[in-house]
């Protein structure tokens, strides 16, 4: 989508055609909303967008890798919910924050590995496997909570979401660390190089003598683990464990990745684009909220956003 040296950083060229579609859309959204509502461009509101987008960012970044490797993870929303419930469960049970955190991450990791193992070793379509897993995680969340909210989570966890450090909300730190880590993984490790290869020419990777299956599973494991990590923020935000907390969030994540320019094409992806995509989705939701549009229409708008992104992309490649 950009210049020829995309995967090691980017440069925005002056010509319109070279500006990534997502940047255009983000700019357009911000413009529209700042006109429609005076509060939109205020610092507290922009901070708000940032904070609220962190959870989405944490699951969209690994989703970028999954999609680059020609896969998809439909279960991430349900998994996020389930991990959040696990965290709340252990908090209510033991009031031991470190333990709850570890359990949430562990559960996410394990389910991610299961997804990856079924997809890679049994050679099954990622869409179906993760769709089935979506149902499974949904059920598991309901079973563990018996359909109720777990509210006895103690006082400390909420701080992860509401707390501040040096004047910056804690979630932002989560976001920065997540981005930096995944950026390094994708662009400066063998694993990241192999993500490009698994999507672009899996056979070439095998011929190069690499243990492709393990790396392939690792992509899904990463996705699951990040879901576990993000679920802590989720539980912190809601100050409870709710069995349908993040149901449907995979839609936002997939939308963010697509809007950001990663397509289901062979092994191509742009991490910063996903970041911009997440912000765009966040801006859209926030802006629509401010002008009083309901959550249900917000979702419909995100769907339209994805359509616009795909249209823009096809126009640019034809131009």
């Amino acid at each position: 989508m950009l210049n020829t040296t995309l995967n090691e950083g980017f440069t925005i060229f002056p010509t319109l055609k070279r500006i990534p579609g997502v940047a255009l859309m983000l700019f357009a959204c911000m413009l529209v909303f700042s006109i429609l509502n005076a509060d939109f461009l205020s610092v507290p509101n922009l901070m708000n967008i940032g904070v609220q987008s962190t959870i989405l960012l944490m699951i969209s970044l690994p989703m970028t890798l999954v999609i680059m490797a020609e896969g998809i993870d439909m279960s991430i929303g349900a998994l996020l919910t389930f991990c959040g419930v696990i965290a709340a469960y252990f908090l209510a049970l033991t009031h031991n924050l470190p333990l709850a955190i570890c359990m949430a991450i562990l559960v996410g990791l394990v389910i991610g590995i299961v997804n990856g193992a079924i997809i890679v070793y049994l050679n099954m379509p990622p869409f179906v496997v993760t769709l089935g897993m979506l149902g499974i995680c949904q059920s598991l969340a309901l079973i563990v909570t018996d359909g109720q909210t777990i509210s006895d989570v103690g006082n400390t966890i909420g701080l992860a979401y509401t707390g501040n450090f040096l004047g910056i909300p804690l979630p932002i730190y989560f976001a920065i660390v997540s981005y930096v880590v995944i950026h390094i993984l994708l662009y400066h490790t063998r694993f990241g190089t192999y993500v490009f290869a698994i999507g672009g020419n899996r056979d070439a990777l095998k011929l190069a003598g690499v243990r492709v299956n393990l790396h392939h599973i690792a992509i899904y494991a990463l996705s699951g683990m990040m879901a576990g990590l993000a679920s802590i923020l989720l539980t912190a935000r809601m100050n409870s464990g709710h069995p349908t907390a993040a149901i449907g969030m995979e839609f936002d994540a997939i939308a963010a990745v697509i809007v950001g320019g990663t397509s289901f094409e062979k092994g191509n992806g742009w991490l910063f684009g996903t970041f911009l995509g997440v912000i765009t989705v966040g801006v859209l939701r926030n802006g629509l909220n401010l002008i009083g549009v309901q959550s249900s229409i917000q979702v419909a708008s995100i769907g339209l956003l994805v359509l616009v992104a795909l249209l823009l992309d096809s126009f640019k490649s034809k131009a």
């Binding site: 079924i118 049994l122 050679n123 099954m124 379509p125 869409f127 179906v128 496997v129 769709l131 089935g132 897993m133 979506l134 149902g135 499974i136 949904q138 059920s139 598991l140 309901l142 079973i143 018996d146 359909g147 449907g248 839609f251 997939i254 939308a255 697509i258 289901f264 309901q294 959550s295 249900s296 229409i297 917000q298 979702v299 419909a300 708008s301 995100i302 769907g303 339209l304 994805v306 359509l307 795909l310 249209l311 096809s314």
Partner: protein, 320 residues
């Protein structure tokens, strides 16, 4: 005679159907042993009625699967069409208008999906996934949290009524089964749809109007969802914003369990019916055995993964 034997031997489709019918029989036997409540006329008719409702949704979906596509918006389609029909019926008082609007709504959604796939060339699961959320959003907004109920008896009849002791939806299901089977097996459109799924490139090069057939299957899927929504509405006797939410997964499961391949070119209407039966039996069994309702999504998910796995396993074994 040798021809018939050769046909049977080569017809893995027949073999697959046979195994699936066997599964149905086995489940019934197992459940009858596990609990008395299963093998009562009441329960069996209930199972058949539930399976019919599921099949109605899954029948159009089968056509989409045959082209190697998927329609994730089916559940949301049913939800929205039902709400639209409900609103029309209660505001205009006319059941006929309600029918038309329900089917019309499904049809429009089908056209929308078809355009996304053929004109914009979006992969079907993205296009219909986006459509799903758009529809959900619109339906919620439309219904504004209210519930509409209290429809005319004549209308409710198609969902809750009985004809000669058999619930009406079962007749409707039989009708759909016959029409669907005739369409897939005996119309040139059906053959072309199978060809598109089996090898879209070769189909195009063989003179099959691929885009037109793709459009057709999404339109049909949308329309059958619209029709199904009316039967659902009649059965539930109420409409609210979230009807369609939990319907997509079981519909997809029914198609997959029935032996229709995700990759296109393989599958039958009757198979989907059996798939709907198997899923309904399992869920019904879970109900009777008072297994926590929360497990239903889990079981459906596992069954989906298992069906696709078995399907792939046997296809690979036979050397595809």
């Amino acid at each position: 005679m040798t021809n018939l034997l050769v046909e049977l031997k080569n017809s893995s489709q027949l073999k697959n159907l046979f195994f699936r019918i066997l599964v149905v029989v086995l489940i019934c036997i197992a459940l009858s042993f596990l609990t008395e409540a299963f093998f009562t006329t009441n329960n069996l008719l209930n199972v058949l009625r539930q399976a019919s409702l599921l099949f109605l949704m899954a029948s159009g979906l089968t056509l989409v699967f045959l082209t190697a596509g998927i329609d994730l918006s089916v559940g949301a389609n049913v939800g929205m069409s039902a709400c639209v029909a409900a609103v029309v019926m209660t505001t205009t008082g006319s059941t006929a208008l309600g029918f038309l609007s329900g089917i019309g709504c499904g049809l429009l959604i089908g056209i929308g999906n078809g355009l996304l796939v053929t004109l914009l060339r979006l992969p079907s699961f993205i296009a219909t996934y986006g459509m799903l959320w758009i529809l959900h959003g619109l339906t919620y907004y439309f219904m504004a949290g209210t519930t509409i109920n209290g429809f005319e008896k004549s209308f409710r009849f198609i969902g809750s009524g009985y004809l000669y002791g058999v619930p009406v939806p079962i007749y409707i299901m039989t009708l759909f089964l016959i029409l669907g089977s005739i369409f897939t097996k005996y119309s040139i459109y059906g053959q072309q749809i199978y060809a598109v799924g089996a090898n879209p490139l070769a189909a195009r090069l063989s003179g099959v109007p691929v885009n037109r057939r793709l459009m057709l299957v999404y339109v049909l899927s949308g329309m059958t969802a619209g029709l199904a929504s009316l039967v659902f509405l009649a059965r539930l006797n109420s409409a609210e914003g979230d009807i369609g939410e939990s319907l997509t997964l079981p519909a997809i499961a029914a198609v997959l369990i029935g032996g229709t391949s995700l990759f296109g070119g393989i599958g039958t209407m009757f198979g989907t019916l059996i798939g709907a039966l198997i899923l309904t039996l399992v869920l019904n069994g879970m109900n009777i055995l008072t297994i926590d309702g929360n497990y239903q999504a889990l079981v459906t998910g596992v069954i989906i993964i298992l069906s696709v796995f078995l399907d792939l396993f046997f296809r690979r074994k036979s050397g595809s």
